[in-house]
């Protein structure tokens, strides 16, 4: 098992950059006392964040992720079961892929 020093350096730098994001946002936030406006904005972060992750990915991927996403969301809303919704979504995406 080999460990290349350049690779190790890159891992450490990436880890520092990633942890700076994870801890830095919270740390900065703790330095200020959030105003009511900031708190109102924060209530919308979860949904807006996940929408911003999903929408461009579907646009880039086309029909297959679109069908998979619609199936996943529909099953999730109906059953509230994460494993079931992902399984059905994957099956739907797979079907589109097979019949493309």
């Amino acid at each position: 098992m080999t460990f290349d020093p350049w690779n190790l350096t890159a891992f450490v730098l990436m880890a520092i950059a990633t942890y700076a994001c994870r801890a830095g946002g919270y740390w900065l936030f703790r330095q200020i006392s959030p105003s009511p406006t900031l708190r109102a904005i924060m209530a919308y972060i979860p949904g807006a964040l996940f929408v911003s992750f999903v929408v461009p990915a579907i646009i880039k991927g086309g029909l297959q992720p679109l069908v998979g996403a619609v199936a996943t969301a529909a099953v999730m809303l109906a059953t509230r079961s994460l494993p079931l919704s992902i399984t059905v979504g994957l099956a739907a995406a797979w079907a589109v892929w097979l019949f493309r």
Partner: protein, 238 residues
């Protein structure tokens, strides 16, 4: 929010780990792909395990592995990690009602263990009145173990499975996000902020292809729109 104090117990950690089980299933193909890519650029099993353990951010690792050289361009891969993971900076403050009650390794360790999946899971737990902050770290540790394990396994399987780009297996990573997004829907108040987030992120992805600024840009645009609208309504009602 209740007045019950926030605690951090082993039982909470165990429950977090148990609740993250379905997420582990969704994470598996993603970890395998990461390992396959690492094998493709000539890393050892030890190297990809170390990378996954230290960085612990799937999307950033896949992006970095796609541009990995010999030696890797240190500035490019570090910047890629920073930009792809900038979204984490928005996540920590949302869990402040839990995090503010933690100190030392529990606080900074919980932040290290935060990824999209267990953040959304913990947020649901917190909003449902959960007061055991160990839930975040417990679910994060389960996901961390699975992430390191599946990326190592992907490396070992390496040459056997080589799913082409666009293979439906890659959908599972997106599927987890879609399923969690479905549970975040609160009704009409979300229409405008979600629409703004969708349009801004899609537009940014077109303007700056190959970068990941669109996630943070869309998240900020959507949440600021929703927050400012609510404040204006409150002021008008007052």
């Amino acid at each position: 929010m209740t007045d019950t104090p926030v605690v951090f117990t082993r039982a909470g950690m165990l429950r977090g780990a148990k609740d993250s089980f379905p997420l582990l299933v969704g994470m598996t193909p993603f970890g395998l792909v990461c390992g396959i890519m690492a094998q493709g650029v000539g890393m050892s099993v030890g190297e990809i395990s170390l990378m996954s353990g230290l960085v612990y951010a799937g999307a950033a690792q896949v992006v970095a592995l796609a541009i990995w050289g010999h030696p890797p361009d240190l500035i490019s891969v570090t910047l890629a990690a920073f930009v792809v993971n900038l979204r984490f900076a928005l996540m920590g403050p949302v869990l402040a009602p839990w995090l503010n009650h933690m100190r030392g390794w529990r606080l900074w360790g919980s932040l290290f263990m935060t990824v999209d999946q267990n953040w959304a899971l913990s947020l649901r737990e917190m909003n449902a009145g959960g007061r055991d902050a160990g839930y975040l770290m417990g679910s994060g540790m389960a996901l961390w173990l699975m992430w390191v394990g599946t990326s190592a396994l992907g490396h070992i399987l390496g040459s056997q499975i080589r799913p082409e780009p666009g293979h439906p297996l890659f959908f599972t990573a997106l599927g987890v996000f879609v399923a969690m997004l479905a549970t975040m829907w609160r009704g009409r108040v979300d229409v405008l902020p979600w629409a703004v987030a969708g349009c801004v992120s899609a537009g940014m992805a077109q303007l700056l292809p190959g970068t990941f600024y669109y996630i943070v840009a869309g998240a900020l645009a959507g949440s600021i729109t929703g927050g400012l609208r609510d404040r204006r309504r409150e002021k008008r009602a007052a």
